[in-house]
């Protein structure tokens, strides 16, 4: 068989495989979109309508009108952006310290940080809830915001790994010029760590944006402080049954910000995740 023919067959097979993997990934989104355009009665029709017979574009406005969309969106955006800033700052700082500074117990601290990832979140829910309640933070957004400034194990690990790939010569050169540690971090390391910061920012934004459990625990009794996750979650629970078409419509609008951010930053994101390959855990 000629080389060109072999290549054609190989390319065709590759695309078929990609298509096969794409279908289960894209189909749920497609179903979500088509459900958003249907009448509620058509959602459960058998056989199911992959393409709606009638397009109800007004479902998007109706779905949004069922929520306090504007307020909840602003709360979600505010908490997510602040969480993003908090995690980037805290993870970069701790990652830099673990990568560059020499102090006693550095390796132990590093292993403790990684080890903390093994603790299931559910185990700490009750003691953490008691803590926030005792200090009067129940009913506020602080339990969603403050932990972002206290670092995150995985992102700290990523930061540490990424910074070990940056030659120490840059630090030394900056030190010779009279820079202190903070200036080295902010003016030398950080600009070189854009992919890393992008990864941390996207992951923290997505985590805060999609967070349902923490608002459920702390602000469920204060509807004026509900983020969009709680507001949209409430659409599926009603004594009148769920209007799935409106829920899907509102949900599509809910996932737009994360989609936009990912579109903006996907190059940096992939580069940042790629830094995991380089040196392994030292």
């Amino acid at each position: 068989m000629g080389k060109k023919k072999k290549q054609t067959i190989s390319t065709t097979l590759r695309y078929i495989l990609i298509l096969l993997f794409c279908i289960p990934m894209i189909f749920p989104l497609l179903w979500m979109f088509t459900t958003a355009l249907k009448d509620n009665a058509a959602v459960f029709k058998v056989p199911p309508q992959i393409i709606p017979k009638e397009f109800h574009w007004e479902n998007f406005t109706k779905g949004v009108a069922k929520l306090n969309f504007g307020r909840q969106f602003m709360i979600s955006m505010g908490v997510s952006v602040i969480s993003c800033i908090g995690q980037v700052c805290s993870c970069m700082s701790v990652g830099y310290a673990l990568a560059r500074l020499k102090f006693k117990g550095k390796k132990l601290w590093f292993y403790l940080i990684i080890g903390s990832m093994m603790i299931p979140g559910m185990v700490t829910v009750i003691p953490v809830f008691r803590f926030w309640t005792k200090i009067g933070a129940y009913g506020t957004l602080w339990p969603m915001i403050i932990p972002a400034f206290l670092g995150a194990p995985f992102q700290t690990f990523l930061a540490r790994q990424f910074m070990t790939t940056i030659p120490k010569a840059y630090d030394d050169a900056a030190r010779i010029d009279g820079a202190n540690r903070l200036q080295i971090l902010t003016r030398i390391i950080a600009p070189m760590s854009k992919p890393l910061m992008t990864v941390i920012a996207i992951q923290s934004f997505q985590g805060a944006w999609n967070n349902y459990m923490t608002p459920l625990l702390y602000v469920i009794s204060k509807p004026e402080k509900w983020p969009l996750s709680l507001g949209i979650g409430r659409m599926t629970s009603s004594t009148y049954g769920t209007q799935w078409n409106l829920f899907m419509a509102a949900d599509i609008l809910y996932l737009l910000p994360v989609l936009i951010i990912f579109f903006f930053c996907q190059d940096y994101f992939m580069e940042g995740l790629g830094s995991m390959n380089n040196t392994g855990v030292k």
């Binding site: 509620n40 009665a41 029709k45 949004v64 969106f73 129940y138 469920i220 979650g233 009148y240 579109f263």
Partner: protein, 451 residues
């Protein structure tokens, strides 16, 4: 080119998001409001507050925005007019995470003055010493307590204490699609139909070639089967609805379980593991002829599908007596309620008079308080469903009422012992005989004794 395409997509998505935001801000009142009262939350902390001589009591429930608006209207225009020193505000609740919400609020010391709950939640909270004891008030006003439908107060007493009062009662009958019944040549159910009539009808309506069962939603759990069994003279499965001390699975229970097992096997009824989350939506879409479901679906059908030809029949009866499964949703207060006298007046109002106006707007269920129950029946008749009114009234007046769940804290332990074996036996996945259920019942009684 790739970058240009990406920019176009990003701009497009931002545009959609911006439009949604503008629409959302414009509709920022969000929840539907009706009446002069607001159904929205209070801005102050949950728990009452004082404003000079007027006190504000907070209520939490899981009802819809429409119902909360009607309730707020009743508070503002009826209750506060009768009690000018008391203002009532509703705090929105989350239906699916309600238990989580109430546990968090009580733990954080921000419990409202009155909150809604099922009788199982009431029993659980009572045992944890979280609820106010209304026993003295109940003794002082026996006429009020005696005015509830027979059996509906059973879920709100324990150890001689009264810790809550029922509000609405959920009953379980059979919705039917008139068009599908007509097409199949099957007559509509009568008000005094029997379990034989129901199962025979379901067998006629099943269509295995189309993967359609004859009837959906039938409660084939131990509670559903116990309900059928008691209508044929069997013993009730639970000796008490709350504070159950003994569970009984007698021969009549096994007879009815065998019958249902056969109906599952021949495709008349769905398996125990059949997904039930969207049955009502499927019924609304005209995908099934018979649906065993709670009466609240009637309000959804009236609102969302006014052209749909449906009917509602009561729980079928057995050869010995009429029985029905029921569930009460009631009102209770936290132990440390600050204004018990005012809260008592509110609880009385919420268990009775409030529904005179609320159920006209949102007829989701009949009221447990007999004098106020007629509102639900009247609304059903106004919407051309006298059969639904009669069905629900019949079920409310049924003397033998059976619980729909275990209401005690050991219920999850019992579920782990009972459910896997029961489900496999009923679905025909296990070779164990039905008598195995009696062996499991002994274990359940041991768990109850040890709790």
């Amino acid at each position: 080119m790739k970058n240009k395409m990406r920019k176009v997509i990003i701009i497009g998505l931002c545009g959609v998001m911006g439009t949604a935001l503008l629409t959302g801000c414009g509709g920022d009142d969000g929840a539907a409001k009706s009446g002069s009262g607001s159904g929205k939350t209070s801005k102050s902390d949950a728990g009452n507050s004082g404003d000079g001589d007027q006190i504000t009591l907070k209520v939490v429930d899981w009802e819809s925005d429409e119902m909360n608006a009607a309730m707020q209207d009743a508070f503002d225009n009826v209750f506060t007019k009768e009690h000018p020193n008391i203002k009532v505000e509703i705090v929105e609740g989350s239906y699916s995470d309600y238990g989580q919400q109430m546990t968090g609020m009580i733990t954080a010391g921000e419990a409202p003055d009155v909150f809604q709950g099922g009788y199982d939640m009431g029993a659980s909270f009572y045992k944890k010493n979280l609820l106010y004891d209304w026993s003295d008030k109940a003794e002082e006003e026996p006429d009020f307590v005696d005015s509830f439908y027979e059996g509906t107060m059973d879920g709100w007493h324990l150890d001689g204490k009264t810790y809550g009062f029922p509000g609405l009662v959920n009953t379980y009958g059979v919705f039917y699609n008139k068009d599908l019944l007509k097409a199949a040549g099957v007559g509509e159910p009568a008000g005094d139909w029997t379990w034989d009539d129901f199962f025979n009808m379901a067998e006629e309506l099943k269509d295995p070639s189309q993967n359609k069962f004859g009837a959906y939603g039938f409660d084939s759990s131990c509670f559903g089967i116990a309900n059928v069994s008691t209508s044929y003279g069997g013993e009730p499965m639970m000796d008490k609805i709350v504070g159950t001390s003994k569970v009984t699975v007698d021969d009549e229970f096994l007879n009815q379980a065998e019958r249902v097992q056969g109906l599952i096997k021949d495709g008349t009824l769905p398996e125990r593991t059949y997904e039930t989350a969207n049955l009502n939506s499927m019924f609304e879409a005209g995908e099934m002829a018979l649906l065993y479901f709670g009466q609240w679906e009637a309000d959804t059908l009236i609102r969302n599908t006014p052209d749909f030809e449906w009917g509602y029949a009561p729980t079928p009866r057995g050869s010995k007596e009429k029985t029905t499964i029921y569930d009460t949703i009631g009102w209770m207060s936290p132990k440390n309620t600050e204004h018990p006298e005012e809260t008592w007046e509110l609880i009385k109002f919420m268990s009775s008079e409030m529904y005179d106006t609320v159920l006209k707007e949102t007829p989701v269920a009949p009221c447990a308080y007999a004098d106020s129950a007629s509102v639900f029946y009247d609304v059903m008749k106004e919407h051309d469903h006298p059969e639904a009114a009669d069905a629900v009234k019949q079920m409310m007046e049924t003397e033998q009422k059976n619980g729909i769940r275990f209401a005690d804290d050991w219920s999850s332990d019992v579920g782990k012992v009972w459910d896997p074996t029961f489900n496999d036996i009923m679905d025909g996945k296990s070779r164990e005989p039905l008598t195995k259920l009696q062996d499991i019942t002994k274990k359940i009684n041991q768990i109850i004794e040890g709790s």
